[in-house]
């Protein structure tokens, strides 16, 4: 038996059979519907830890933009029902800037959660001062009306 000529044929057959089997298997493997609509329910928070400072760090290697980096916030839940939404927001009035990130809570959420804001870029022309005053907020956006859960003034330090 010539191994070199048979093995590829067997391999091809295996791959083809696997592909063809995907049709029936996919039908059997439909994910279950999720219960509850996102944005309904309620959340009660016992503790929120917000960072004191954020940074605007100028890029390296020829990238001259400033990277805005905000440390994570930690939220400890007292009670959680349904699928509420929390957002983590930074506003810097001096730059007319704000950025918000949403977190969808549900039965799988533990008793605490880290809220993070992704790194953002600001153009070198806009960043002039050595520091800016900003406000960090955690906001409950479940339902029609939003409610500020926690708020803290932060210093956004510029590093060049």
């Amino acid at each position: 038996m010539n191994l070199g000529s048979n093995v590829p044929a067997v391999a091809a057959a295996l791959i083809l059979v696997g592909t063809l089997a995907s049709g029936p298997l996919a039908l059997a493997d439909r994910p279950a519907e999720q219960t509850g609509t996102i944005g309904t329910g309620s959340v009660a928070v016992s503790e929120v830890r917000l960072p004191e400072t954020a940074t605007l760090q100028q890029g390296q290697f020829g990238e001259e933009s400033y990277y805005l980096e905000v440390p994570d916030a930690t939220v400890v839940f007292e009670r959680l029902e349904g699928r509420p939404i929390l957002t983590y927001k930074l506003a810097i009035d001096g730059l007319e800037y704000s950025r918000e990130s949403a977190f969808f809570l549900g039965p799988d959420t533990g008793d605490r959660m880290q809220l993070s804001l992704e790194r953002d870029e600001l153009s070198p022309e806009t960043v002039q001062n050595d520091s800016y005053a900003g406000v960090l907020r955690v906001i409950d956006r479940t339902g029609e009306e939003s409610r500020v859960v926690a708020e803290r003034n932060v210093t956004v330090q510029v590093r060049r």
């Binding site: 070199g4 590829p8 091809a12 696997g18 995907s22 001259e64």
Partner: protein
């Protein structure tokens, strides 16, 4: 099967076999070509993201949706900002798209995907297709190098890759099918570009350097970056590569009938390119027709008739599409007024009266196109000669350019030609080599060299490259380019130029193994070092891209120094050159892989789920 071998079945089988070998020889040439093709597809598949990367992709996907339903006019526009998506024009009967040539190729692929998706899990089908390509690649390569362990080990690896990916497969939404169809034809075009580069170089200088050149195009240049990203550039490169190859064949042919056939064939890709992007086709057509007729042994009536007939016939789809879209056979979509914001090459001369050209007689229309085109090129030539800053920012070092970055989300995510393909630094030695050649052989030898196969291809390649620069340089540097994609053909032409340099050629062919080891080492070990360094720095997107830019420039400098030194003196080590060339190619590959898997992973879900896991596991932001 022998029991079925009656007369009819036998003839049918023979006919099918003939067609099969015909297509095979037309596309791949030989088994090396096939191996390169399959390896290229597997490589592109590693970072294939199912989705639209830049907004221009929406218009072509919208066009495909409508053409697949049998309309050139866009009535259904599911992608991007609908009719406002850049690349949508006002045709004679309503809004139309562009790149109809690509769309036409994608239609059958879309039908196949829809058929398969109806009965199978398309996510698994894509994984199966990729695994089969891998299986084909390892089997072909293993048999070429006559190593059974490659065949056996590779086959096992292909099955393992299939199972591992299927375990994490997720369903693919049917709304993605048109995008996938376009991505697949794009990857095939990019892979074939490598194949034709191999065939072209192999025809002039032998298989070994041919394989190196073909592989370099596939894995070490931005051709790999853009392979699956719904842009026309892969097709432009393929058409140029195919035209140059046919031209080379016409000059190396032994019989006059063969010469005639390949001369005629050289114009087919030009016509197909016109169907995709008419202006770019002109940039290829003009040098080709001038050089071809000036250097041919015979331009008799029969040859003229065959060439003109073939060219006209291959232009039929282009004329027909224009007629349907714009109402005039010589008015391609890009000359129509734009529906939304303008992007790309504006040949319409200020927009407005879309019906104007159609009312002008055909000759008048053609004349206007030619005048406008020559004016654009002349403007480009003036810019090229008077604005060295633009050259520097386009070819050497880009960095942060406020006007460009502001359109790229304030990120310096734009590389120059050299930063995206450090391998091209070897071309620094080209003027030196040309000078030495002239001093050695004298001016009298130039004439006969220009008549030779290599000389003819060199001239067309150089002229096409210069024309592309003239047309696009005035708009560069520009946002949403990443790797100066407007000058995409330069990467193919540059690799061809490298393979033509005696210093590079001798270094690679004499140190075959060293080149391969240097390349593999750079990608596997150097790639890990890059990941470790970046994980320590925690760069943003722009920083990461500029890190690669600086790395590429460092490698490019070493390569340029070596290439010039080696050209000047034979005592400079060829082996060292093999190492530097391998490393420069490797640095190009590292950028393609990391950008696809990590930096621009947001372009869509990975076709191979294992890569999704790998992307998440990489410690880069």
């Amino acid at each position: 099967m022998s029991t079925l071998d009656s007369g009819v079945a036998g003839r049918l089988a023979a006919r099918t076999e003939a067609v099969r070998t015909g297509v095979w020889r037309l596309l791949f040439g030989d088994r090396v070509g096939l191996a390169l093709f399959l390896c290229g597809l597997c490589f592109f598949g590693l970072y294939w993201r199912l989705g639209i990367y830049i907004t221009d992709g929406s218009a072509i996907a919208n066009t495909l949706v409508n053409v697949a339903d049998g309309r050139v006019v866009l009535t259904e526009v599911p992608y991007g900002s609908g009719l406002e998506a850049p690349g949508t024009y006002i045709g004679s009967d309503g809004p139309v798209g562009r790149n109809y040539g690509i769309v036409a190729l994608a239609v059958p692929v879309l039908y196949v995907l829809q058929g398969l998706g109806a009965v199978l899990d398309l996510g698994v089908v894509l994984i199966g297709g990729w695994s089969l390509a891998l299986l084909g690649a390892v089997t072909t390569v293993g048999r070429l190098v006559d190593r059974e362990w490659v065949v056996v080990g590779g086959s096992v690896a292909a099955v393992f890759a299939f199972l591992a990916n299927v375990a994490f497969a997720t369903p693919v939404a049917p709304t993605l099918y048109p995008i996938l169809a376009l991505q697949i034809v794009g990857m095939v075009a990019a892979a074939l570009s490598g194949v034709f580069c191999y065939r072209l170089v192999a025809r002039l200088h032998g298989r070994r350097i041919g394989v190196a050149a073909g592989a370099a195009v596939l894995v070490a240049t931005p051709i790999a970056f853009w392979a699956a990203l719904l842009k026309r550039h892969s097709f432009t490169v393929l058409c140029i590569a195919a035209a140059l190859y046919a031209l080379a064949r016409s000059r190396t042919a032994s019989e006059s009938a063969e010469t005639r056939r390949f001369r005629a064939l050289a114009y087919v890709p030009v016509a197909l390119l016109a169907w995709i992007h008419a202006a770019e086709a002109l940039l290829l057509f003009v040098p080709l027709v001038v050089v071809d007729f000036a250097t041919a042994d015979a331009n008799d009536r029969r040859t003229l008739a065959v060439i003109a007939g073939t060219f006209t016939l291959s232009l039929a789809p282009f004329f027909l599409t224009n007629l349907l879209v714009a109402g005039s056979p010589v008015e391609p979509p890009r000359m129509l007024p734009s529906y939304g914001a303008m992007e790309g090459l504006d040949l319409s001369g200020g927009g407005g009266g879309g019906g104007l050209l159609t009312t002008v007689p055909l000759v008048g229309g053609l004349l206007r196109i030619v005048t406008r085109f020559v004016a654009l090129l002349a403007e480009g030539a003036v810019v090229a000669l008077t604005e060295p800053g633009r050259w520097f920012r386009t070819f050497l070092r880009g960095g942060y350019i406020p006007a460009v970055a502001s359109e790229d989300g304030f990120q310096a995510i734009r590389l120059t030609v050299l930063e995206s393909a450090p391998l091209l630094a070897g071309l620094t030695a080209a003027p030196v080599a040309a000078g030495l050649w002239l001093r050695e052989r004298g001016r009298a030898a130039v004439g006969s060299h220009l008549q030779s196969a290599a000389g003819v291809v060199d001239t067309v390649a150089l002229a096409t490259g210069v024309l592309f620069v003239c047309l696009f340089l005035p708009r560069l540097p520009l946002h949403a380019q990443v790797t100066v994609r407007y000058l995409h053909p330069l990467f193919l032409l540059g690799v061809y130029g490298l393979a033509r340099l005696p210093a590079v050629r001798s270094a690679v062919t004499a140190n075959w193994r060293t080149t391969g080891l240097a390349y593999g080492g750079t990608v596997l070990i150097g790639g890990q070092l890059v990941v470790i360094a970046l994980a320590a720095i925690q760069p943003g997107l722009g920083e990461a891209v500029q890190f690669h830019a600086l790395l590429a420039l460092a490698t490019a400098t070493v390569l340029a120094v070596w290439a010039v030194a080696r050209t000047l003196s034979e005592t400079v080590s060829g082996r060292a050159g093999a190492v530097v060339l391998g490393a420069a190619a490797g640095v190009g590959t590292i950028f393609v892989l990391l950008s696809g898997i990590e930096y621009f992973s947001y372009a869509g879900e990975f076709a191979l789920p294992v890569v999704r896991w790998f992307s998440a596991a990489l410690p880069l932001a």
